[in-house]
């Protein structure tokens, strides 16, 4: 404990004018340094912001441009011939709406399936001890290391032999192969943070393991489960090659649908493609807006142990 008082301090001499000037100079320098570092920080933020937002701006500008102005060389940063025609044309394209519905169905089921399976697997890995548990955990993660092309060819052959090609099932199962491992590890990390004492208390109160997971652990891990679901949804929503290969036009999702519709042998309909890309990114943006607080919490949960 300190017992110093002002009287205990050595007498402070009144600063001489030159020392005071020096003090003011130091403060001024410090203020200048602070201002400089703030300006530098703002410049850095502006540069990074521009780097991040420029593609979005370019997307919007192209979506509002006419085909002729898009091909201007050198390209113009600010478009002059603006039109909404690219957006109105989207509403008239039934096939695009079909692709969007397919994407919503497939990505949503992928998210739910990934979370359900990953919850049980993650819980098992976290709270149960059994032979081969570690190997199984590593096997789940190692499946992430397979090249996509290898998985694709194998899945194509397997789905084909089971008559599952061109079905939602094929898409959901294939998307789940690459969303589930990360979801499992993400949720395992979250379950690790749930104290064992809580589970023991539930057990003493007569709750079965099943009940403990559903009524006690799952609500606690809900933010993490939402984050994992969102991750799986976005992966499913964005996948191109699996959706193109495993589904026909009737069941195809947006990414291959957009490429098929707008990117041709000789020409790419950039304004329409950009308008469609903007519109179809809306569901993902909305999902992020509503769930982003869970996302941050869920992604970092389990990173620090109590």
């Amino acid at each position: 404990m300190t017992s110093t008082t002002s009287t205990a301090l050595p007498a402070v001499e009144r600063p001489q004018p030159s020392t005071a000037r020096a003090g003011r100079g130091t403060r001024r320098r410090m203020r200048k340094d602070l201002l400089r570092s703030r300006i530098a920080a703002w410049c850095a933020v502006a540069v990074i912001g521009a780097f991040g937002l420029l593609p979005v701006y370019w997307l919007l500008a192209t979506a509002l441009s006419t085909p002729e102005s898009v091909f201007q060389f050198p390209p113009k940063l600010v478009p002059t011939d603006l039109t909404l025609g690219n957006f109105t044309a989207l509403a008239e394209n039934d096939q695009l709406i079909k692709y969007m519905v397919n994407s919503l169905i497939v990505a949503s089921i992928t998210a739910v399936l990934s979370v359900v399976v990953a919850t049980y697997m993650g819980y098992s890995f976290s709270k149960f001890r059994y032979r081969g548990r570690r190997s199984l955990m590593h096997l789940v993660l190692a499946s992430q290391m397979f090249p996509q092309a290898l998985l694709l060819v194998t899945l194509y052959a397997v789905f084909s032999s089971f008559g599952l090609l061109n079905t939602y099932t094929a898409l959901v199962l294939s998307f789940t192969t690459f969303t589930m491992p990360l979801c499992v590890w993400m949720l395992k990390g979250i379950f690790d943070t749930v104290p064992d004492a809580l589970l023991e208390a539930a057990s003493i109160d007569g709750a079965s393991r099943w009940r403990t997971l559903h009524s006690i652990v799952a609500p606690l891990a809900a933010p993490g489960m939402i984050a994992a679901g969102l991750f799986a949804f976005v992966r499913g929503w964005n996948d191109f090659i699996f959706a193109l290969t495993l589904a026909d036009k009737e069941k195809q999702t947006l990414p291959p649908g957009l490429v098929s519709t707008y990117i041709g042998e000789f020409q790419t309909a950039w304004p329409q493609l950009m308008a469609a890309s903007l519109v179809v990114s809306v569901p993902v943006v909305v999902a992020f807006m509503f769930l982003q607080r869970y996302l941050v919490g869920g992604m970092t949960a389990g990173s620090v142990k109590s």
Binding site: P147, S160, S161, K305
Partner: protein, 433 residues
């Protein structure tokens, strides 16, 4: 509570499992049944219903015209055609997978550059007996041949050649198309003198399209592939690349140009020459604000090294191949009808400006009155040839390794001789795989 961290031992175990799993997946993939139509050549060849696979069925400009052909056939033959399509850039890989898996049947639209890769899979029917009935031109017929067998009926046969802007040439005081490399260089300098950011020749300088260098290499005397040997790296190929580099250094061609940039430059009257397929006229003029550009576009014979040489051009076009098995007979009839019926080919020409592959089709008044098409056929397609590398499954990789070496020369990272020697070695390795 357990830890979720990965120890070194754990990481090693994981890699081991990963490798084992990858091998297992490979074995599983290899052992899995080959698909819905698992047995090769399965299905009833006499079936009236079949599939027609074409990338053009995705494309706004082509789709209505092809659907019209399909509907007319279905009505006349009381059959059902299932239209299947994949995007052009993914077409070859998708088709390879699906043809191998037995999912693709019936008629298949192929770029002539892909015919060899598809034919090597052993699932395509020999159409030799049918092709004789079509009245195809010699050059067209050859575009459907691989290893002496007629695997494809030619649908549209054209080439990739040089397109000139007559208005710009006139502005630079150039009265006629240059015929030799020397004259061409002089013309490019005249055009450069116009100023205003004109790129005299919007030649490909980006890797994606640098395969356009091949006809120039041939112009300088390189055969590319001869008697089972890759000839890239010989003096002629080095001369061609040295010349290309000279054009680049003198700013007669520009850096970072691909086909899309070339069309944009040409469309804005900032390029006097560029390389494109015959369809380039429609594509480039459609995206140009200059409504008179189409009239100023002229096909030009690629300049030769010395007078009397044969101008070089790359053959370009599409064929329809038939998959053995379900619907084979009806699909063959459909392919023959689509590629040779005069009314059908004329209507398709009217919709897409793609030249028919038959003598009668080319002579049809609707086609014959199109000066650009007839001139193109006479000046460019007549002497065009396919790439000797198309016969290799790695032909796309071959294009890329040569392109990368040429680009290294253009940006000054390699000398032409070293770069071409290296390209030749790499291409040789790819042809041996």
């Amino acid at each position: 509570m357990t830890t979720s961290g990965i120890s070194r031992r754990g990481a090693l175990r994981m890699f081991g499992i990963g490798a084992l799993g990858a091998a297992g997946a490979g074995v599983l993939g290899a052992c899995a049944p080959s698909g819905a139509g698992s047995t090769a050549d399965s299905g009833d060849p006499k079936s009236k219903n079949f599939d027609f696979t074409s990338w053009s069925l995705n494309e706004e400009a082509a789709k209505p015209a092809i659907e019209k052909i399909i509907k007319a056939w279905e009505k006349a033959e009381k059959s059902k055609i299932r239209a299947v399509s994949y995007p052009y850039n993914e077409y070859l890989s998708q088709l390879t997978l699906k043809l191998g898996g037995g999912e693709t049947t019936g008629a298949v639209h192929l770029d002539i550059a892909w015919l060899a890769a598809m034919a090597q899979m052993g699932r395509l029917a020999d159409l030799g007996s049918v092709a004789g009935k079509g009245g195809y031109t010699d050059v067209a017929l050859k575009s459907g041949v691989y290893d002496g067998t007629q695997y494809g009926l030619p649908w549209n046969t054209g080439s990739i050649g040089v397109i000139a802007n007559a208005k710009l040439l006139e502005k630079a005081g150039i009265k006629k198309h240059p015929t030799t490399v020397e004259e061409f260089e002089d013309a490019l300098r005249e055009l450069k003198g116009l100023g205003g950011g004109v790129v005299p020749y919007a030649a490909a300088t980006k890797v994606a399209q640098l395969k356009d260098i091949f006809p120039w290499m041939q112009t300088f005397g390189c055969t590319l592939y001869d008697g089972g040997k890759v000839t890239i790296g010989d003096d002629a190929s080095v001369d061609a690349v040295t010349w290309y580099k000279k054009l680049h250094d003198q700013k007669l061609i520009a850096a970072d140009v691909d086909r899309f940039d070339a069309r944009a430059l040409f469309g804005q009257g900032k390029a006097a020459f560029y390389d494109d397929a015959i369809i380039g006229k429609g594509v480039t003029s459609a995206q140009s604000k200059d409504t008179t550009l189409a009239d100023a576009m002229q096909p030009m014979e690629r300049p030769v090294l010395k007078a009397g040489d044969t101008p070089r051009a790359l053959l370009w076009g599409g064929v329809i191949a038939i998959v053995k098995g379900k619907g084979q007979d009806a699909a063959t009839e459909f392919a023959l009808h689509t590629t040779t019926d005069r009314a059908t080919t004329s209507a398709y020409f009217a919709a897409r400006a793609l030249p028919p592959s038959t003598t009668a089709g080319l002579a049809a008044p609707e086609v014959a009155k199109d000066t650009f098409t007839t001139e193109w056929t006479e000046k460019i397609t007549k002497t065009a040839s396919g790439s000797p590398f198309w016969q290799f499954a790695q032909s796309a990789q071959i294009d890329e390794v040569v392109a990368k070496q040429v680009q290294a020369v253009l940006v000054g990272k390699a000398k032409p001789k070293d770069a071409m020697r290296k390209a030749g070695e790499e291409v040789t390795a790819l042809t041996k795989r």
